[in-house]
């Protein structure tokens, strides 16, 4: 393996994101190449000094999202909530807003249905806008089941 062949993979190796086989190839080159070894040291240092979100930011975002959800515009018709098609989307949004660790004490092995069961919807936050779409909650009509499943997986649900 040459430096040119390795250059795009070095960041993933230095940050532990390569699998064992690929990692072994990169490691073999780095062991005999001072230039790549020095660059890997820089990348490793950058990665380990990366800042994390401050404590409390998740709660702050959840509060801000809650305020947004409660801001029901005047003059719109309301209707009684029934389990709508966008419930799954709403679950995704709630997870986005508060984080899986806040919504669910034990995020391990959580099924989507159990997430939905754990969510209570306030009818006052659901209404129909003029074009017939449900407002007060996201609508992901154009998102395929596969894409939505991928979204939920990425959100950690």
């Amino acid at each position: 393996m040459t430096c040119q062949e390795l250059v795009d993979r070095l960041p993933d190796w230095a940050t532990g994101r390569l699998n064992d086989d690929e990692g072994a190839l990169v490691a073999a080159h780095v062991a005999v190449c001072d230039e790549c070894s020095a660059e890997a040291d820089v990348l490793h240092a950058l990665f380990h000094a990366r800042p994390e979100a401050p404590a409390g930011l998740a709660e702050r975002i959840a509060r801000a999202a809650s305020v947004q959800a409660e801001a029901v515009p005047e003059g719109v018709a309301k209707r009684t909530w029934r389990r709508p098609a966008w419930a799954l989307s709403a679950a995704a949004v709630l997870v986005l807003a508060v984080g899986a660790t806040l919504l669910l004490r034990d995020p391990q092995g959580i099924e989507v249905d159990s997430v939905l069961e754990g969510i209570s919807f306030d009818e006052s936050q659901v209404w129909i806008v003029d074009d017939g779409a449900v407002a007060g909650a996201p609508v992901l009509d154009d998102l395929s089941d596969e894409a939505l499943a991928a979204l939920l997986k990425e959100l950690g649900v």
Binding site: T15, V42, A49, R50, L57, Q68, L96, L140, S144
Partner: protein, 152 residues
Amino acid sequence: MALHQSSAFRVSLGILGDDADAQDATQEGMVRALKGLAGFRGDSSFRTWLLAIVANVARDILRRTSRRREVPLDDDSAGNSPFGDGVVLQSEVARVRALLAHLPEKQRLAVQLRIDDGLSFCEVGDVIGSSEGSARVNYHHGIRRLKEWLKE
């Protein structure tokens, strides 16, 4: 999701350079993403989509406040280099991270997103608003410059 929050915070911090402003941008960006979730079509990763929104919010805040303090490399107040005598650094690791803040924005974000979050160059380009090739060039220029500074 906690991972996304940290990624969003780092993007904001990389653009704004100020912790409090970065928290504001992260909050505003994530709430804006909530409101615009219908616009997510699944043709990019959710994380990339989210980070692009947060980056736009951070740039808006930067334009409004002009708060980021760029220290020129030849600024006497910081010595002859960004890690001159006027800058106290606790370790070599912190030193590298401090130098990152002195890169131009696109180089800085390209390095951050590639290293901190493991984004591909294509995804980096989506977040910083450039092509995959431009993202790769910005990354390599940034790394090269960091290595040069570290040798000084």
